[in-house]
């Protein structure tokens, strides 16, 4: 897969700048079929993503909640008839107030959530990649039982994420869970997993690592198979140690795959909703909430503050955009076209 050039599209003839009035028509004649081919997706993206996105940004500039959503509140009587009264506090445009409140910490725990999200993302991705790489290296050698190991190690990926979340929550139950009973049988005191922010986050990270490592492992294993064996042979002849071969051949050879899976893994983990939502439920006292679950709870629990949830959403998106910009720049510097 690395053999194909990065940009197989034939270069456009430099028709552009000095064009005449008919440029548009020529462009149309030349490209109409390409545009026709992408049209369905452009429409879908516009309707399903950009319209809601714009709406979301707009909502974040209002004070919309469930209570002030309706212009008038109507009460139906069981004997028939309906009385409507104007909603005394209708929603209104409030400018950047939501952002000010969120960023200054007046409302919600944005900064705490952000910190937890970053720790969560970093922790998960580092372990995903590290363990995935380690296992891939081991599995990449010929040995007895390799196929069996591979199947067993891939198993967690076959389990839907929400099922894994339940399974681990079950295991980490403080009184009746397998984890504490194993600890006890080893003579270690049982741990009150969800009583402490860090042990609680630990349970979530363990869950996510468990279900995410197989993907990394298989991806990296696939990447290793594309590294030409001659390189290893030559290195061996030169007397390179196993570690040197790993550092100088395997790692560079894995770069394209690694870059992609790390980027994807980061984005996926950042936005990973079910694990935190189902395993820790934000316990203790909301201290393991991440941005995505916090935004969800703002919108669909309590007073259902839609505008606040949208504000979180916009902020989350901004963080991700900044991250990918830096990532892209870093890649560019190293000569990858992306």
């Amino acid at each position: 897969m690395t053999t194909v050039t990065a940009d197989p599209a034939p270069p456009t003839p430099p028709s552009g700048r000095s064009a005449r009035p008919s440029r548009l028509r020529r462009s149309w004649e030349k490209h109409w079929y390409a545009w026709a081919m992408v049209l369905p997706v452009v429409i879908v993206l516009a309707v399903l993503i950009f319209y809601p996105l714009v709406r979301g940004i707009w909502i974040s500039l209002t004070n919309l909640t469930e209570a002030n959503q309706a212009a008038e509140i109507c009460t139906r009587s069981i004997t028939g008839g309906e009385v409507c009264a104007e909603n005394p506090n209708k929603w209104e445009f409030i400018g950047l107030d939501n952002y000010v409140n969120v960023l200054s910490g007046n409302v919600g725990d944005f900064w705490q959530w952000t910190a937890i999200t970053l720790i969560w993302t970093l922790g998960c991705v580092v372990f995903h990649y590290g363990l995935g790489l380690g296992l891939a290296v081991m599995l990449n050698r010929p040995m007895w039982g390799r196929g069996l190991y591979r199947v067993l190690l891939v198993l967690p990926w076959a389990v839907p994420a929400f099922v894994s979340a339940f399974a681990w929550k079950f295991i980490f139950n403080e009184r009746f869970g397998l984890a504490n009973s194993l600890l006890t049988s080893l003579g270690i005191d049982p741990v009150d997993w969800f009583a402490n922010q860090w042990t609680s986050l630990f349970t979530a990270i363990v869950t996510n690592i468990w279900l995410g490592v197989p993907f990394m492992m298989v991806a990296l294993l696939g990447g290793m198979q594309t590294i030409p064996g001659e390189l290893y042979e030559a290195a061996e002849i030169d007397g390179a140690s196993a570690w040197q071969r790993f550092r100088n051949i395997t790692l560079p050879g894995l770069r394209p795959v690694s870059m992609t899976v790390i980027l994807l893994g980061t984005i996926w983990t950042f936005n990973m909703f079910p694990i935190i939502f189902l395993v820790t439920e934000g316990q203790p006292a909301g201290e393991t909430e991440i941005l995505v679950t916090g935004a969800f709870r703002a919108a669909f629990e309590g007073i259902r503050n839609y505008s606040l949830a949208s504000t979180y959403g916009v902020l989350i998106l901004s963080i991700l955009l900044v991250f990918s910009m830096f990532y892209r720049r870093a890649l560019r510097k190293q000569g990858e076209v992306w």
Binding site: A70, T75, R76, T79, N173, R175, A195, S200, A285, E301
Partner: protein, 433 residues
């Protein structure tokens, strides 16, 4: 697949009906004969039942089957909805005007909230409130908002001290503790003399109310529009609860799944005392090792320095305002049947739940019910809650506070100040701090 379950329930209730008929239940049915022919009512109604699907659900299904004997053409889709989610689910659906149930079993604090959002039918002038005076005053009050009545009480309840008689007598304790101080000593004695732990406290806002009420505290002062959650009284009450855990008298509660843990430990006889309500009686009764109702002791919650009392709780039947008008007759008939004195007596007998009608307490099934008798003083001592629309939102911040104080060892007063701040910012902005 519910259909299968209902099929079984129909069978079960058919046999039940036969035996009831033999006892003269038939007469009552005749008495109640409505003016219209019940069989002419045709409708399909969805009912969201927030009771525990395993412990309480089957009894409600039996009631539905009974209802269908009189109203064969009103189909009831009985859907169990987890109590913890129902409030949000209902609002999501009602707001969107699709997917909400025709009838909901709503917790007492939810009714004013839903009513204020326009999600409920006002029931004034309907048959349901024809004998309004028969309902107990407090449960009925929770259905009123802005001069109208939006629901019919289903059950009433309050928190009580539930204890394992065997364990208490093993520890040489003859009577259940009456104050928190006595509870602490009793719990420590039990811990010493038996294999069980003394008491398990559920670290949730609702379950800490007896501690706060005991010292004379409350959440808000609705009459004067004041937030009083961060009062010294409440802090003192929480300090008592915290001391129970710190001193080892109470088991260290879990931050996740604490309620389930509490019930499992109690049923396994690993914990001698819990603070809980009548809705768990059937659960305890069915536990294989517990020893049934004979071993279950029920006493009023222990008192603090001011008084002893738990929050008045319970559930009401409400009708979604998005339900089409033509289903009204069927819905009214169903709610009327479910909230009738006979149905309430049936639930008392089956589950030990407390009726909300004065007349129900005169029926034999209720009069002679030991569980009801034990809970009656508990409910009478119950402390009323402010029935304002915002009351449904009091418990989110309170639960967080409970975890902070009981599990994370934070200072009660500081934790309560945070709650007060949240109430002011999100729940009751018009109130004074």
């Amino acid at each position: 697949m519910r259909r299968t379950a209902r099929g079984i329930a129909v069978l079960a209730s058919a046999t039940l009906a036969l035996s009831v008929a033999a006892c003269g239940g038939e007469e009552k049915a005749a008495e109640e004969q409505p003016a219209v022919d019940p069989a002419s009512l045709t409708a399909e109604l969805t009912w969201w039942d927030t009771s525990d699907p395993k412990n309480e659900g089957p009894a409600f299904q039996e009631l539905i089957a009974k209802f269908n004997q009189t109203y064969p053409n009103v189909k009831i889709n009985h859907q169990s909805v987890p109590f913890g989610e129902a409030q949000n689910k209902f609002k999501t659906a009602a707001q969107a005007k699709t997917g909400a149930p025709d009838i909901l079993r709503a917790e007492v604090a939810w009714v004013p909230e839903f009513a204020s959002l326009g999600h409920l039918y006002a029931l004034d002038g309907s048959e349901l409130l024809a004998d309004e005076s028969d309902f107990l005053e407090t449960p009925l009050a929770s259905n009123k908002y802005d001069g109208k009545t939006y629901g019919v009480p289903q059950v009433t309840d309050s928190l009580a001290l539930m204890y394992n008689k065997e364990l208490l007598s093993q520890a040489g304790i003859s009577a259940p503790p009456k104050t928190w101080a006595e509870l602490k000593t009793a719990a420590q004695t039990i811990k010493e003399k038996t294999d069980a732990e003394g008491v398990y406290l559920n670290p949730a806002g609702y379950f800490l109310l007896p501690f706060m009420y005991g010292e004379g505290g409350d959440l808000v002062d609705a009459a004067n529009k004041k937030i009083v959650i961060n009062s010294e009284q409440n802090a003192a009450g929480l300090a008592i609860a915290k001391d129970l855990i710190d001193s080892g008298a109470a088991a260290k509660p879990s931050a996740n799944d604490a309620y389930g843990t509490m019930m499992t430990l109690f049923k396994e006889k690993k914990v001698a005392m819990i603070i809980n309500g009548p809705w768990e009686v059937n659960n305890v009764k069915q536990a294989p090792d517990f020893g049934g109702l004979e071993n279950l002791g029920i006493a009023p919650v222990p008192g603090g320095s001011v008084k002893a009392g738990g929050p008045v709780g319970g559930h009401n039947y409400v009708i979604w305002s998005g339900m089409p008008q033509e289903k009204v007759d069927a819905a009214v008939a169903f709610v009327k049947f479910m909230s009738s004195a006979e149905s309430q007596a049936f639930l008392s007998e089956k589950l030990g739940l407390l009726p909300t009608r004065t007349s129900a307490y005169d029926l034999d099934a209720v009069k002679n019910n030991a569980t009801v008798a034990a809970f009656q003083p508990v409910v009478e001592a119950g402390v009323g809650r402010p029935w304002i629309p915002e009351a449904g939102q009091f418990f989110g911040p309170l639960d967080q506070m409970a975890t902070e104080v009981l599990i994370q060892n934070k200072d009660p007063k500081a934790a309560l100040d945070t709650v007060a701040k949240k109430y002011k910012a999100e729940v009751v902005p018009s109130y004074e701090n």
